[in-house]
């Protein structure tokens, strides 16, 4: 952990290492709910500003009234210990905000893709995004009340998932359930590096 310490000033407080995990999935798949269930702090929301004038604009003086808007981003925090924090970021649910994903995904440990079996196709773009960028992800099938029950194998086939991508059932409202999804993601990340995380 020495590498994450702020070591130029001996008396300076230690700076924790922050790991970033994305919570993705289609609109209404339960992303906000999952972030809220897992976060140790009140559900936080921040906003990213879009300028309709275009990405790459350096100055919005005079144009902001008609061309800026905000995209709310949910985020939550889990403190593992003094040196380690996990930040969860819910991704914007709409295709036109894709460019925000690149920033969110930068340096991310991995992603949870929430799938709603009533609208399974809604999570295809998320899966494509992470596959194309080589970002490890797991798929959590959010079990909504009254949603039709599919077997995990049927869902895996429908999503055309690689065999090594974990697919787990979850209830996004439930902290314990969400926790297990995150654990399966971190274990998946570790496996991809070739060393399994021992159970315990």
């Amino acid at each position: 952990m020495d590498s994450v310490r702020f070591d130029r000033e001996p008396a300076a407080p230690r700076v924790p290492l922050a790991l970033k995990i994305l919570i993705a999935g289609g609109f209404g798949a339960g992303k906000t709910t999952l972030v809220s269930a897992l976060s140790e702090v009140r559900p936080l929301q921040t906003e990213e500003v879009l300028t309709g004038a275009g990405i790459g604009t350096d100055d919005v003086s005079g144009v902001e009234q008609k061309s800026t808007t905000t995209v709310a981003m949910d985020f939550g925090r889990i403190t593992i210990n003094d040196d380690l924090q996990v930040y969860l970021f819910g991704t914007p649910g709409q295709d036109r905000f894709w460019f925000l994903w690149d920033e969110l995904a930068f340096g991310a440990l991995g992603a949870v893709v929430l799938a709603d079996t009533r609208r399974l196709a809604d999570c295809f773009p998320s899966i494509d995004y992470f596959e194309q960028r080589g970002i490890p992800f797991v798929v959590g099938v959010n079990c909504f009340d009254g949603s039709r029950k599919f077997s995990l194998e049927a869902v895996r086939d429908a999503l055309d998932l690689d065999p090594d991508v974990p697919l787990v059932l979850c209830d996004a409202r439930d902290r314990q359930s969400g926790k297990l999804v995150l654990i399966s993601l971190v274990e998946h990340v570790a496996r991809q590096r070739g060393e399994p995380v021992p159970v315990g």
Partner: protein, 129 residues
């Protein structure tokens, strides 16, 4: 910061996109910070002993950032604490960095993701929740 609902004529603007805002008034219209590196999970730390009082060109929001960062705090948390858009906070933090009032600790790039010991700590930490 919030204004009336946007009209229907702009494809970017609708109920899902959120209200029309004028957030960059605070930054004088500047969208980009003078320096990069303010990732959402970059930690900001006020330089020990830094005193923004009397430093020209700073807004009250700058001073709040200096106070909040007396302990290491992530950019995303600062944006939430100040209830400002991340893009706005980045510009303000850039001002503070340029004046030597804060330092920023960037998160490691993807190529330097945590080693297995850290992943193990995350898993056991999560299990203990």
């Amino acid at each position: 910061m919030r204004a009336e609902s946007p009209g229907p004529q702009h494809e970017w603007l609708d109920a899902a996109a959120g209200p029309v805002v004028r957030p960059y008034t605070l930054t004088g219209g500047r969208v980009r910070p003078p320096v990069d590196g303010f990732d959402l999970v970059a930690f900001v730390l006020t330089v020990p002993g830094a005193d923004p009082t009397g430093v020209p060109g700073l807004q009250p929001e700058h001073r709040r950032l200096v106070d909040l960062a007396r302990r290491p705090v992530a950019v995303a948390d600062l944006a939430a604490d100040l209830d400002l858009a991340v893009g706005v906070v980045r510009v303000l933090l850039g001002d503070l960095l340029a004046r030597g009032l804060v330092t920023v600790r960037r998160p490691p790039a993807a190529a330097h993701l945590p080693d297995d010991n850290i992943l193990k700590a995350v898993v056991s930490g999560l299990r203990a929740l």
